[in-house]
Amino acid sequence: MSEALIPMLGVVTAIRQDTPDVKTFRVEALGGGKCFEHMPGQCAMLSIPGVGEAMFSITSSPTVKEYMEFSIKKCGCLTDWLHRMDVGQQILIRGPYGNGFPVEGELKGQNLLFIAGGIGLAPLRSVINYCRHYRQNYGNIQILYGSRSKDDLVDYQEILDEWMQDEGIKVYLTIDRAQEGWDGHVGFVPSYVEELGFDPQGKVLVCGPPIMIKFTLQSLEKLGFTKQQVFTTMELRMKCGVGKCGRCNIGDKYVCKDGPVFRFDELSELPDEY
């Protein structure tokens, strides 16, 4: 019997230091290839025996067939451990979990605006690369990404080398405070959103710290966006990943099963407990 709580084995085949506290780990099945297929925005439970298990969003696009990637910020026992491991380390993985972004549903054929803050880019990167892969299925793509400083921009190299080079993709970067060697925009994401004055069309995918999401939503509404247009992805403490252990619910919805992606109009009907 396949049991949801029993993980499978993966192996870390590459580690990239993105920022001082974010590393991106490439995980493959033991025999090569991916441990399982997934959709953009879905998550996986990673664990190291005796250290812990936690849910991470899969940052690589499903269109990548060779591996999965996870961008992980150092913030606790397990992530500390992951940050200290070397290539070749075996790791436990199970999933995919959650609904993912409706890339083949509501988002299809739409202009897309991605707004990310800090490590919040991780779940969006999967969608962005998926949309880039199936470029013809989507309208304009705009990406606004901000972080504390230049050094805290995750996937900076990929943004510069690939996203910014793509035609029909506009990338806006911002950092919280001015710093040497940065001649781009300086300021918080929500105010930059207003500054840029996006056309309230299409769909918006927002991910970042709760406070950023809150104010970004306000900015978007000022610009004329409705809650139905905006999607985000949630993060709560999870143990099982399959809607049984009872802790990741917001009202009657389980983030691990019914989420983590929610449309803001759905979310606003749920209790404000996240």
């Binding site: 451990w81 200290r84 491991m85 070397d86 380390q89």
Partner: protein, 661 residues
């Protein structure tokens, strides 16, 4: 993941003999976290250390385990090695596979298995080590010497000589100690007072030295470089600054029943007295037990005769605090009580005396003015029996298990002096062994036997008892194989010496350890003989173990040089293995504060922020310069907020796990 290197030392054949070091190194390779494991003949050698340094660099080690001798031996060595290779020195752990393994287990299989377990425990611990930074604390440039005998005086003089201030606290009214009581010194037979008193005067006149006589240390707090000492200066009822030492008071004092301590109670002194002529300070002191004025309020003669107006019956004990960077214990010795040795008749006859009493009898400034007479009747003795090892080398439990070291020589000295001055007196010495390991010592003893005809009898004395006005000494002559019953006029007992009783209390205050005989323990018996294990506390003289005057003086100088070395520093590097309070877990209950022996814990109200927490709480804080890292607080803390760096809860539990696996 940590990257641990394991280095197994052969210690020549010390470890490699009973332990298969290669197997230990091999076994460690499969332990998770270990990336490098090797052996070497002598890890502590230059080559060994450089191997460790190379491995640290080559394998990017984050932690090092050295399987070698006791960490008490080389932990610091290897910490420095790691530091030189760029690793934090506190990322080193030692597995003690010599003292606690190879030296006690003969079976190679058993020893090897144990060594592997010990190494695994050390790895488990080092995996949880965190880099620690040593702090610094300032050094107070003043030393305290406790005890004003020859040891204390010499130490103080040497420290002062180097330009540092030093206080001598002496419990009796004068400095000088036991040496001041001696008549002559062996093996040169020069006059003890003649060589000591100039030093006493030097000390008194040295402006860097403050002699606090008739005083005791009451409390010691603080730590190396920064001790705070509470001193109680007892009331002497005489103003030290005014008294000129003229002695007029002593002449008039009507109370003359005080036992003369300086003369070992062989005669009496007045209630107001100066211990001896060359006393320093040369100031009178009133014995409140004897003084009529203080006891009954009636008298006051001394006050009237004192032209300096120095007498002050209302004087009270003075208690004050001083700060020191270093403390030297020089508390000296006393002869043991002879109550347990009644077979020698000490309590039955006044003519059975101890060697120190005999010393006073022979002294020109002593109770008999230097005339050899019997204490009982003042008659000149003709037969004197000396008995050695009274209470020394005694494993029966009545005496001391150790050799008092000086008795053989002073007994030879006494015998020789008697025979020299009074050729009519026959001298017999009962001995077990005669021990004369010292420069010119054996020659001295041989002179006593050969030149002065002292009758040395190898054998034990069974009993001494008075018969008429004689003393009968029953003993055995082992060489001639017969029982003896000598008639003697006097018997002199070479009583064992023991540490001064004040030392025990002092050791507790200093947190310095003592051995079972109450001698202070050295930090290392061979390599650090003048330091106590407590940093900043040094040892001088007999308080550390029996020794004669030249040895005492040598050790006093050595202690002084250690003190000088310490005081020469402006700052000391502090031990970073101290307690730390996790404010997120702290209840602010104050339990830890109550057990801290150093007062290192204080409380503050502060805003605490953490996951789901943001409020003002009362939390404990540890002063790392004051904390000594005992860990008492860590166990008192129920929430585990208090933990000890270098010996954390998780580290110790990891060791437990590894050992019990």
């Amino acid at each position: 993941m940590q990257r641990i290197g394991v280095f197994v030392c052969w210690c020549g054949s010390n470890i490699a003999g009973p332990v298969d070091v290669e197997r230990v190194a091999e076994a460690m390779k499969s332990v998770p976290g270990v990336v490098h494991s090797t052996t070497y003949q002598y890890m502590c050698s230059e080559v060994g250390q450089s191997r460790i340094m190379e491995a640290i660099k080559e394998h990017q080690l984050t932690g090092v385990v050295v399987c070698s001798c006791s960490p008490r031996m080389h932990e610091n060595t290897f910490r420095k090695t790691a530091q030189r290779a760029g690793l934090n020195p506190y990322m080193v752990e030692i597995a003690n596979i010599r003292e606690q393994c190879s030296w006690i287990h003969k079976d190679k299989e058993v020893g090897t298995q144990k060594a592997i377990v010990l190494a695994k425990a050390a790895v488990a611990k080092v995996m949880l080590n965190t880099p620690l930074q040593a702090g610094t604390s300032p050094v107070i440039k003043r030393a305290l010497v406790i005890g004003g005998g020859i040891a204390g005086i010499q130490t103080a003089l040497d420290i002062a000589d180097a330009g540092y201030e030093v206080d001598i606290v002496e419990k009796s009214p004068t400095i000088g100690g036991r040496m001041a009581q001696l008549d002559k010194t062996f093996p040169t037979l020069d006059c003890s007072a003649c060589i000591l008193t100039p030093k006493m005067v030097d000390a008194a006149q040295n402006e860097k030295i403050d002699i606090i006589s008739y005083a005791q240390v009451e409390k010691v707090s603080g730590f190396v470089g920064n001790f705070t000492v509470t001193i109680r200066k007892k009331a002497r009822f005489v103003d030290e600054l005014k008294c000129t030492g003229c002695g007029a008071c002593m002449e008039k004092c009507p109370s003359k029943k005080g036992k003369n301590e300086f003369n070992m109670g062989l005669n009496n002194r007045t209630a107001i007295y100066i211990p001896f002529a060359q006393a320093i300070p040369n100031v009178a002191v009133i014995d409140p037990e004897q003084c009529l004025k203080l006891k009954t309020g009636k008298c006051g003669l001394c006050e009237r005769v004192c032209s300096a107006g120095a007498i002050n019956y209302k004087q009270e004990d003075e208690v004050f605090e001083r700060q020191y960077g270093a403390i030297v214990a020089a508390t000296g010795f006393k002869p043991i009580d002879l109550d347990a040795f009644d077979e020698y008749g000490y309590s039955q006859s006044k003519d059975v005396v101890t060697s120190l009493e005999f010393e006073r009898i022979m002294n020109a400034a002593g109770p008999t003015g230097g005339q050899l007479v019997r204490p009982s009747d003042g008659k000149h003795p003709h037969e004197i029996v000396f008995i050695q090892c009274v209470g020394s080398r005694d494993t029966s439990g009545c005496g001391k298990p150790y050799c008092s070291k000086i008795c053989c020589m002073y007994t030879a000295k006494h015998a020789m002096l008697v025979r020299d001055k009074y050729p009519d007196v026959n001298v017999h010495v009962f001995y077990i062994d005669v021990r004369t390991p010292g420069k010119n010592f054996d020659e001295f003893y041989r002179r006593a036997v050969e030149q002065y005809g002292v009758d040395y009898i190898k054998g034990m004395v069974g009993k001494v008892f008075p018969e008429g006005d004689k003393l009968i000494v029953q003993g055995s002559d082992l060489i001639n194989g017969k029982q003896l019953a000598l008639q003697a006029d006097m018997v002199v007992l070479a009583a064992a010496i023991e540490p001064d009783p004040s030392a025990r209390k002092l050791a507790t205050m200093l947190t310095a350890s003592m051995d079972t005989n109450d001698f202070f323990t050295e930090a290392h018996p061979k390599l650090r003989p003048v330091e106590s294990p407590t940093a900043g506390v040094f040892l001088s003289g007999v308080c550390q173990g029996p020794k004669d005057i030249p040895e005492t003086v040598a050790q006093a100088g050595a202690a002084a040089s250690k003190v000088i070395g310490l005081l020469a520093k402006d700052h000391l590097v502090t031990n970073p293995c101290v307690a730390q309070s996790n404010e997120l877990l702290c209840n602010g209950c104050s339990q830890c504060e109550r057990v801290c022996p150093y007062g290192a814990i204080s409380y503050v109200e502060k805003e605490i922020r953490g996951p789901g927490v943001r409020e003002v709480r009362r939390v404990a804080q540890v002063n790392p310069a004051v904390c000594q890292g005992c860990g008492a607080c860590t166990v008192t803390c129920p929430s585990g907020a208090m933990d000890l760096q270098g010996f954390s809860n998780l580290q110790i539990m990891a060791e437990v796990d590894a050992i019990c696996k």
